[in-house]
Amino acid sequence: MKSRQSVTLLSLLVAVSLVLAACAPQEAPITEEPSMPEPQAPEATEAPVPTEEPAMPKTTRHGGWLDEIDVSVVSGDSAISQLQAGAIDLYSYGLASDVYPAIKEAGLKYSQSYGGSYSLMFNPAVFEDTTRLNPFSNRKIREAMNWLIDRNYINQEIYAGGSLAKFFAVTTQLVEYTDLIDTARALESKYAYNFDKAKEVITAEMTAMGAVLGSDGKWQYQNAPVNVIFLIRPDGDGTRKPMGDYVANQLEAIGFTVERQYKKSSEAAPIWRGSQAKLGLWNLYTAGWLPSGLTRDERGQIQQMYLNTSIQGVDPFISNVSDPEFQKLGDDLAQGNFSTPEERKAMMERALELSLQDSLQVFTIEQVQYSPYNENVQLTYDLASGVEGAYVGPYNLRFVGEEGGAMKVGTADLFTEPWNTVSGSNWVWDSNIMRATEMGTGNIVGTAGLMGDPYTGLAWPHRIESASLTYKKGLPIRQSLDWYSLEAADEIPVPSDAWVDWNATEQRWITAAEKFPEGTTANVKSVVVYPADLFETVTWHDGSPVSVGDFVMAMLMPFDMAKPESAIYDESLVPSLEATLATFKGYRIVSTDPLTIEAYNDSYNADAELNILPLWPLSPFGLSGENSWTIFAVTNLAEANKEIAYTSNKADTLQVEQTSWVGGPSLEVLAKYLDQAAGESYIPYKPTLGQYITKEEADLRYGNFTKWYEEHGHFWVGTGPYYVDKVYTTEKSLVLKNNADFVDLADRWSAFSEPKLARILLDGSGQVKAGEESVFDVSVSFKDDPYPSSDIQRVKYILYDTTGAVVVVGDAEFVGEGQYRVTLGADVTSKLPTGSARLEVAVVPVPVAVPAFTSLDFVVVK
């Protein structure tokens, strides 16, 4: 009997312990208050100036700092535990901000970056069913939704305070926002949470629309409750569900009857995107938008996020009837219909204001993501796109104070799609690896031997000697860096021998003289001169020197593949070429020693640096990864014989495998055609490339490439600081090894290594007498040293009164290095009502794209 009782007791204990374990709180409760109420975006790091001495000690090491990087797939849920256990040194994929407290608690270092944004998307249509009232067809009610929701509450409660409140379509605290900081902060203050104001506006508008507030506190329309269908997404990172519930609660609190429909992406999309807005299948939706990277020019966002001319091209955008002024402003901004930066700025300021009045979407949260890493790791990350989005990242990844060593890196996935540079994987984890194997980065209009600045989004020369840019007078183009020359011209004629199109039948370029017999012009012209020793110093990972053939092959591939006469024609690439040709005006190789290439374009970017077009054998389709003419030649042979295809579209049509240069059935096919090409000393596109590639070069190339494949078992070859040593597709891991033959020393980009964190201190009296002058001191520092004034663009101040309204905006007065002063004159303080007031100071540095903020509360007395 006793033993039976013992057994029963034991079983009960086990059951209870399991239940308790299941109910136990997690290590890092998401509601925990983080140590900083709202983390500032990572702060200043000085952009490298090519002529400056690197900040780090000199080294003789070439390539990357590490001997080996072992990348494997690690679940985000266990990333922090694995870092603590030493199983990995870095988790490079960005984790959602709700893990921020756990990262802090674990004592790990971390990077911050933008991870996309969330908004409330409204159905703006008047419903066909006239018995149903759609409150959000009323612009004023949509505007009032800004006051109804407390973005700071959402951030604290759902995102553990680790993200940022978002009001605008432009990225919060990034380049565009920083340029408009006065307007942005004033509008944020105006549209801050104010439940009573929201209720007042909504009540007035609902009444005007014929609704009646019933005795039960619920809005009625034609004797039926005003039912609001709210599509709430429970999938993704799971944060949209609590956010949706919060908004639904707020709507219910002011009298709406809310029908919460929890639908995952695939279920919600056919309703909010796929249905006609006027059918009224929904009223509002928890929308999410991907991050746009460190984009410096976000003027197109106004049109895209609000207007019926939006690139989204679906209801509810099409159904939105915006204020005519807003419509014109948004369209003009998107089309570039302005002539000076000042005019553009004024248009953006007005557009921000009108966007909140329109509020087809009410933005709620700018997500911040975190990549944790161990104390002994040093890395550089991109302010907008994090560790995996930083072009310079692989160059600077190292163990602190060490040269060499093997680092274990975890990420969310690998080999999600086949790897090739025409239409292969562009998943962030795959691209991150590819970038470690390449030199430089793509820019806004093409491909380039440039290095992206992780803190400003501008570009620095990586493998070019000099450059110049000419733009058509009147275009709003500005220069930020001085590593190239810039000039404006009345007209930029395209030379008659410039290559403007491709004749796939004859395999030769079509010149401007042939295509435009009357002559043609371009909006911008860039001239890039490459180093004289380029072809001696830069080699592919298989040992072959880079040649002009690589450049020309990368130039012609996007043309040839989209021409029906080509042996590798792919109809899915035609729209891309058509889009390119709409603005592309020509290439011209002026010289091959040193290599000098001109590029002509009608498409332009407001930042002059981003219009420099130094061609490089990088992916001609904007993906990551480099491509020698050799790999294209071999793959093209296979594709021409319909055994594999670059794009999934063509692969599906032909029922063959999509080309992968790192694994799978493609490898066997490619090896076969490599043998064939080697046997024939094959020179692709001979009428054109035959001018640049000799038989000797072809033999050397194919010989080296064959040896490479035999040794490493794949065809992924670049010129970057690391090479892919081994690939394990099923095991989802990969080994990168240092390229000791890399042309640059490991400290080439070390100036980006350590973030130059700015610190602002604001000091002044806690009590201000209205009508009397008051002075506040501002000190801006980096590591206890004054922040150089040459690195500070602006120090702005904004004064808010007790209601949160902006009283005055101004520039702080420069006193000395790192020292500024804000003087509130008697005429200003006299405008302040008694009570609390707040002075906010924003520092806009030059080397980074984000501003730093601080504020001081004081009391106003009479």
């Binding site: 494997s72 256990a85 796929g274 899915s572 889009a579 970017n605 579209n649 099923t730």
Partner: protein, 373 residues
């Protein structure tokens, strides 16, 4: 029922049928059985197709996703942002049309359903819509085969260990009814209510995070050792925690089930008779208890073997084990009907074959059973 069972005592009075009539009977049975199983497979697979594409609603979902994906990709391209809206819209529409064509959305759903069905029945597994294998292939055959070894290893090791240990321990316990070990097993059997992935999380916390003696997840260390012996050892090390979690989650309940099963057979009259006759316990266990239970045990084992094909979705996900369970889960999430159907048809054929063969196995191991009788 095609299979007739009789008690051992009845066997002695049955007359042996003539060999020709037996052959006809068996043949008739085989044909009928194959027809019925074939129809079951056809209906099962067609229902799977219908469920997988939600009666055609998946087309609507996919069209929305295609439109969204293409629009966002164009929206993210700065070069296209300066295009005039009409040209841009035309470009988007062209791309959407091309993508819908690639995905087969331009073909009526009914036609596609029957195409899926006929391809599946003839084992032409075709190409996945969105999913690719780890090596980059879109052929369903490759996608499934690539993950099969990992699943067979994990499920095979855990399930066969579970099966063998459960049967042996249960047999042992059935002889010790009411003993302390018997009571411990009974008491712990509710622990099987906890799913394996839950044990998995605890095991990871204990052995990987705290003790740091076993890896957190994956199938092999990173980078995978090049030496085959080291590679094998690394795989085995990674196998311990996921296999253990699968075993632990079913261990006590499995023993309890078999033990109860054996106990029922232990109390049969003919067993009591054997005991009364003074036969040795081992003989009673082997000849009088185990043998009559063989059909059930073999059925369980056969179903266990084909069940290996399905993998363990959440456990594989927790341990990032590259198995079929995760592949199927991904395929369902992506509405990748060819992969779902491919996996289902193979399981359906394996199940049908197993059911078919088991009828004959029963007749071999149990003299009371007669095929088609």
């Amino acid at each position: 029922m095609a299979v007739v069972t009789r008690s051992p005592s009845e066997n002695v009075v049955l007359k042996k049928p003539a060999s020709t009539s037996a052959l006809v009977r068996v043949l008739r049975y085989v044909v009928m059985r194959l027809l019925v199983l074939g129809m079951t497979v056809v209906i099962g697979v067609y229902l799977t197709i219908m469920i997988a594409n939600m009666g055609g609603y998946v087309d609507t979902i996919m069209r929305s996703e295609v439109a969204d994906r293409i629009t966002q990709s164009i929206a993210a391209n700065p070069a296209m942002q300066q295009m005039d809206p009409d040209t841009r819209r035309k470009l988007i529409e062209e791309r959407i049309t091309a993508e819908e064509k690639r995905l087969g959305l331009d073909t009526p759903i009914a036609v596609r359903n029957f195409r899926y069905l006929s391809n599946a029945l003839t084992l032409r597994l075709g190409r996945a819509i969105n999913l690719t294998s780890d090596a980059g292939s879109k052929q369903v055959r490759r996608i499934l085969l690539e993950r099969l070894p990992a699943t067979l290893l994990l499920m095979g090791v855990s399930q066969i260990f579970l099966f063998v240990s459960s049967v042996l321990l249960a047999l042992n316990l059935s002889r010790r009814y009411g003993s302390i070990w018997d009571k411990v097993v009974v008491a712990l059997s509710p622990t099987s209510a906890v799913p394996p992935w839950f044990y998995g999380i605890f095991l990871i916390l204990i052995f990987a995070s705290l003790l740091k003696v076993l890896p957190f997840n994956g199938m092999v260390g990173s980078p995978p050792p090049s030496n085959p012996l080291d590679y094998t050892l690394s795989v085995l090390k990674h196998l311990i925690l996921p296999a253990l979690s699968l075993v632990l989650s079913s261990f006590f309940l499995s023993i309890y089930n078999y033990r109860t099963f054996f106990l029922i057979y232990s109390s049969e009259d003919y067993v009591e008779m054997a005991k009364a006759k003074g036969l040795p316990p081992r003989t009673i266990e082997r000849e009088y208890i185990l043998r009559p239970t063989l059909p059930t045990i073999i059925t369980n084992f056969a179903l266990l073997i084909i069940g290996l094909w399905t993998g363990a979705t959440i456990t594989e996900t927790v341990f990032l084990w590259p198995g079929l369970g995760r592949t199927l889960y991904q395929a369902i999430g992506l509405y990748d009907i060819p992969v779902i159907v491919g996996s289902t048809i193979i399981f359906a054929y394996l199940l049908a074959m197993t059911v078919f063969l088991l009828d004959f196995v029963y007749a071999i191991v149990d003299p009371r059973v007669k095929v088609g009788g």
